[in-house]
């Protein structure tokens, strides 16, 4: 590897076993306690890095704009993704449509560090998700409940984020889904072995994975939260509810002072259990994103209901 090859293709320069489950899941472990920020330009990516983001998520339009403008939302332009990769030194994630394995192949060839198979984009396949084991690059997927999370892990997801209602600035759905996943995990840990078989059937997930969650009391991969997080207190609440880290989409770059808000959310995520710190960092951030009440959104445009 020379200086110019610090961005080789998919694992060709690997010095050992590349793309293993441990290496994929391990990458997510390194992001824990951190904030991953949606960005649509290299300039925004730099603001996110300066604010202390652990990674940035490159996408074509933030969810609030996808919601406002409608139309089919797809993977970003490779030029834009490369521009973002070149602009920052932190990991770069990018979104592919559900089931669109070629978008994922393109993202892997561009050298992105994580692919988000995301319900925020318009699904490309209403039956199948991507076979994520076939890739060297790791994947993060959304889930509204434990069964959905375990199905994504079965398909090879190396990280899960609870789904919220992206682009609304309304945290209520993220809360519901995080509570749902955590509650279902707690329930599994209390079941006797003979009832785990039926639990696996009900969760529509493989028995081995269900038994593992019952034994360990946690998912076998890192669990972040996403969707509707707009304030430092939102991020801290999700952490207290059991998220291991936070994705923030429209909440930062649709607010009055993105740099200050981004930095505040980073601090609130680390000190999520310290109200004094959250109070201090919440001051003087300017306007939060205006937001849309999820209940006011008709069901057909609710993004969290995409994926199955």
């Amino acid at each position: 590897m020379s200086e110019s090859s610090t961005r080789p293709g998919a694992g060709e320069a690997g010095l050992g076993e590349v793309g293993t489950a441990r290496v994929k899941r391990g990458m997510a472990e390194m992001l824990k306690g951190g904030v991953i920020m949606d960005v649509v330009t290299p300039e925004q990516a730099k603001i996110a890095e300066d604010a202390g983001a652990v990674a940035v998520m490159a996408l074509e339009r933030v969810p609030a704009d996808i919601r406002a403008q409608g139309g089919v939302a797809r993977m970003s332009d490779p030029d834009m993704i490369e521009g973002i990769i070149d602009a920052v030194s932190i990991p770069v994630m990018a979104k592919a449509r559900i089931g669109h394995f070629v978008e994922a192949q393109v993202l892997q060839s561009l050298g992105v560090d994580y692919v988000d198979e995301s319900e925020v984009l318009t699904p490309a396949d209403y039956a199948n998700h991507i076979d994520k084991w076939a890739f060297t690059v790791p994947f993060v997927c959304g889930a509204t409940n434990l069964g959905e999370a375990l199905r994504r892990i079965t398909e090879g997801a190396a990280m899960i984020r609870s789904k919220g209602e992206a682009g609304t600035g309304d945290v209520s759905n993220a809360t519901t889904h995080m509570r749902q996943i955590r509650q279902e995990i707690r329930r599994l840990t209390s079941l006797p072995t003979d009832e785990l078989f039926v639990a696996a059937k009900e969760l529509q997930a493989p028995y081995e994975l269900v038994a593992e969650v019952a034994r360990t009391g946690k998912l076998p991969v890192v669990l972040f939260t996403a969707g509707g997080i707009a304030t430092p207190a939102d991020a801290a609440m999700m952490m207290q509810l059991g998220a291991e880290g936070v994705f923030v989409g429209s909440g930062i770059f649709k607010s009055g002072d993105p740099a200050a808000r981004a930095k505040a959310i980073v601090q609130a995520t680390t000190f999520h259990d310290d109200p004094d710190v959250i109070a201090k960092v919440s001051r003087g951030l300017g306007e939060a994103m205006v937001g849309i009440n999820v209940e006011a959104e008709p069901a057909p445009v609710r993004l969290a209901e995409r994926g199955w």
Binding site: G26, G34, A55, S89, P91, Q108, Q267
Partner: protein, 239 residues
Amino acid sequence: MTVPVTPPAGPAATVPAPGAAARAASGLAAGPTIGVLALQGDVREHAAALAAVGARAVAVRRRSELEAVDGVVVPGGESTTIDKLLRLFELDEPLRAAIAEGMPVYGSCAGMILLADRIEGGAAGQRTLGGMDVLVRRNAFGRQVDSFEADLEVAGVPGGPVRTAFIRAPWVEQAGPGVEVLARIPATTADGRDAGAAAGKIVAARQGRLLATAFHPEITGDVRVHALFARLVEDSRRS
């Protein structure tokens, strides 16, 4: 890791750890108390590895918590984020002072970057704690698609090669005379390929009571590097 040890940045972090003095008073023999810097990163995995080798692991996010430990682990994570949080919450100077006074510190990956006196490939304005006379190149092995697992001989770790995971890992570009090299990337990989520019690069090193690895032993279940660090902490308490 299934061990329910101190959660990262959990409420338990606010309870000061009983230090060596308290243990001595209690008359109970116990391993050292080792803090894991819990601003961001894989805190839980390090805590579990430390517990597995008999140390008491506690989360450190505040100066008061730092004062109650015999040694510190700087975990894997995002070095730019940890650097910013260290400064924002004013832990950077206390940690530098502790390092100067001889507190043992082990850093893995991002932790190695933070222990380096000099770095290459850092973000604009990125700083380190320093203490080790090394030049560390950030993201030296490439992007996530280049992350890998391998078995590696590490000096001072008996019992055969260590199972290692390199994740967007750094390497040591140059090391000063006071630095003891513990591991290098071999010239050829396990399957016989040329290691290229990585050949011979230092990926584990020690200087005095500072220990650094470019890889993550904490996620492979091989706790021998943590055992090495726990012994280092134990020795420092006696001296």
